[in-house]
């Protein structure tokens, strides 16, 4: 009896939490819809009088090249680092060579380092191989620093597949690549979705690498947004519309594929 009553009361703190998590989004969306004469500090919490989309159109026009750059970086980076992670995970779970566990630990550490500790050489190195400032350079960086987490996720998944399955396939005459292609790859499609989504989100939201490694014409959307926001020159309603546009791709991925996003997130805390 008591328990059901406490359960009923639980909705009060839960609704308060919902308000806390939604406040920034509320402000972002309503301000984005407001017309120029409507934006005043006094009425910032009020709903817009009209639902004009001009701000969103204007923001889109301004951010379109950067949104495109982001897609150009993020899609190949997510796909390639997932493929590498899957190959690594397969070998490190099912074909352990001598020292495989040490190598795995060393790779894993790469996911926790503060990237500041590699930035100076990174800039020098990218410059020396002629990729500094370019989109391919940024793709390469995202692929390489994505390897630890993608390897971790796939290794944990493949480790959960019974060894008997691999042994049985070996007896049937399948070789290493055959077992991967015919047995493990097909059943790891959900893991691919998890890793792709996670890498897509991480790379999309990246700021540090983009701001250091790209030239203005190759700026990704986060760098461009940081440049137009916060200042006094661009009106608030336009800034908020631009922010929402920059968040939209990852937000949509979260809304439609949230289940997979959560699994990627938990892999990051080493809990598989």
């Amino acid at each position: 009896m008591i328990r059901s009553r406490t359960r009923y009361w639980s909705y009060i703190p839960l609704v308060l939490l919902v308000i806390f998590y939604l406040i920034p989004i509320y402000i972002m969306v309503i301000t984005g819809f407001k017309a120029g004469d409507e934006i005043s500090v006094k009425t910032m919490w009020d709903l817009p009088k009209t639902m004009g989309v001009e701000n969103y159109l204007k923001a889109f026009k301004q951010l379109a090249p950067n949104l495109l750059n982001s897609f150009k970086v993020v899609i190949p980076a997510a796909i390639l680092s997932s493929i590498l992670g899957s190959l690594n995970g397969y070998v490190l779970a099912k074909w352990k060579f001598k020292g495989a566990d040490v190598i795995f630990t060393l790779i894993l550490f790469g996911m926790f380092i503060p990237y500041q500790s590699v930035l100076i050489p990174l800039v020098q190195f990218m410059d020396s191989i002629g990729l500094y400032g370019s989109i391919p350079g940024l793709i390469l960086v995202h692929i390489i620093y994505g390897i630890p987490i993608t390897t971790l996720t796939f290794r944990n998944y493949y480790a959960s597949i019974p060894n008997e399955l691999v042994e049985a396939a070996k007896i049937d005459g399948a070789d290493m690549l055959g077992i991967y292609r015919k047995i493990l790859l097909p059943i790891s499609i959900p893991s691919f979705v998890v890793v792709l989504i996670w890498q897509f989100t991480q790379a999309w939201n990246d700021f540090l690498f983009s701001v250091i490694l790209t030239q203005p014409q190759n700026w990704t959307v986060t760098v461009a947004l940081n440049n137009i926001s916060g200042g006094q020159i661009i009106p608030w309603n336009l800034q908020m519309a631009a922010s929402l546009l920059a968040a939209l791709p990852t937000l949509l991925v979260y809304i439609f594929l949230g289940r997979y996003f959560l699994r990627g997130m938990m892999a990051g805390s080493l809990k598989g």
């Binding site: 328990r3 839960l14 397969y90 790779i107 926790f112 939201n205 986060t222 959560l262 805390s269 080493l270």
Partner: protein
């Protein structure tokens, strides 16, 4: 025989990744370490060895680095505690099998899918310290709701301003902490609670003496993960408060003196210190997690 050939092929498959991570993580860390011991200042690399000079300069008479340390400490404590408390509270609320649980859960986690660069601007506006007729943001909302006692000057608060910067960070990562706690709670068998109830234990005592101790590993993991994130905080500072000396953090300091000030030696020293602190947190955690897995 066949097996050995296959194993060699397997090794060749991971070799590109090993080389890439070897260069981009370990090689570059080594390179940065070398820069941190060098006199490099200005456009052109200068690897003249100066010993610990760059490190000593940071700790002696460097006001900015002292601010960094103070800010990182305050920020970390507020951020980690905030995430743990809010995360545990919401996990406990959601663990009762309420209607709409998955809706609440998804909603609490969604901030993690958005970049600080996006939300930082909104938070900057929400945490506007202006008073009187220019009052805006959350202060204005508090004023309208009659919650005047909550009105404050946010990140402009003297000494403790950095603590308020933890609010957007808590907003973004408390849902993640909740997910970790929820997974921990789900792993506790119901029989344990039932048995305690049969023995006449109160709900609070069950929580205090059974649930909380069993959640200790989760708390520890969350502290390590959140703690190392807070050391690395960068985007949040840039987007929410910009480059203000009183609200400086090591990552921002490193970025500015290296890429704007061209003091490569000092910048490298800061980043190596950041790496050492991160490693102190992460390496024991890594070994512990992986050893547990083997068992």
């Amino acid at each position: 025989m066949q097996d050995r050939k296959e194993k060699r092929l397997a090794f060749l498959m991971v070799l590109p990744s090993i080389i890439a991570v070897g260069i981009f993580v370990y090689g570059f860390i080594g390179w940065t370490t070398r820069v941190s011991f060098s006199a490099w200042r200005g456009m052109n690399p200068d690897y003249t060895f100066v010993g610990f000079k760059n490190y000593i300069n940071l700790f002696v008479n460097n006001l900015r680095f002292q601010i960094d340390i103070k800010n990182t400490l305050i920020f970390t404590v507020v951020f980690v505690l905030g995430c743990l408390i809010l995360g545990l509270a919401s996990a406990l609320l959601l663990d009762q099998g309420l209607k709409g649980e998955s809706f609440f859960r998804s909603l609490f986690i969604f901030p993690m899918a958005i970049s600080y660069i996006v939300t930082g601007v909104v938070w900057r506006w929400l945490m506007n310290p202006a008073a009187g007729s220019r009052m805006s943001g959350l202060n204005l909302l508090f004023d309208k709701l009659g919650l005047d006692f909550l009105i404050n000057s946010w990140t402009s608060t003297p000494t403790w301003g950095i603590a308020f910067l933890a609010i957007p960070a808590i907003w973004q990562l408390s849902g993640y902490t909740m997910a970790m706690y929820l997974a921990g709670l789900r792993a506790i068998p119901d029989e344990l609670r039932e048995a305690a109830r049969v023995d006449g234990a109160s709900e609070f005592n069950i929580f205090r003496y059974i649930i909380l101790p069993l959640l200790r590993p989760v708390t520890l993991s969350a502290m390590v993960i959140l703690g190392h994130m807070s050391l690395k905080t960068f985007d949040l500072v840039i987007a929410t408060v910009g480059k203000q000396l009183v609200l400086d953090m090591p990552s921002v300091h490193m970025w500015q003196i290296t890429f704007d000030g061209l003091q490569y030696g000092s910048g490298a020293a800061i980043s190596i210190l950041l790496l050492i602190f991160t490693a102190v947190l992460i390496i024991p955690y890594l070994f512990f997690s992986l050893r547990k897995e083997v068992k």
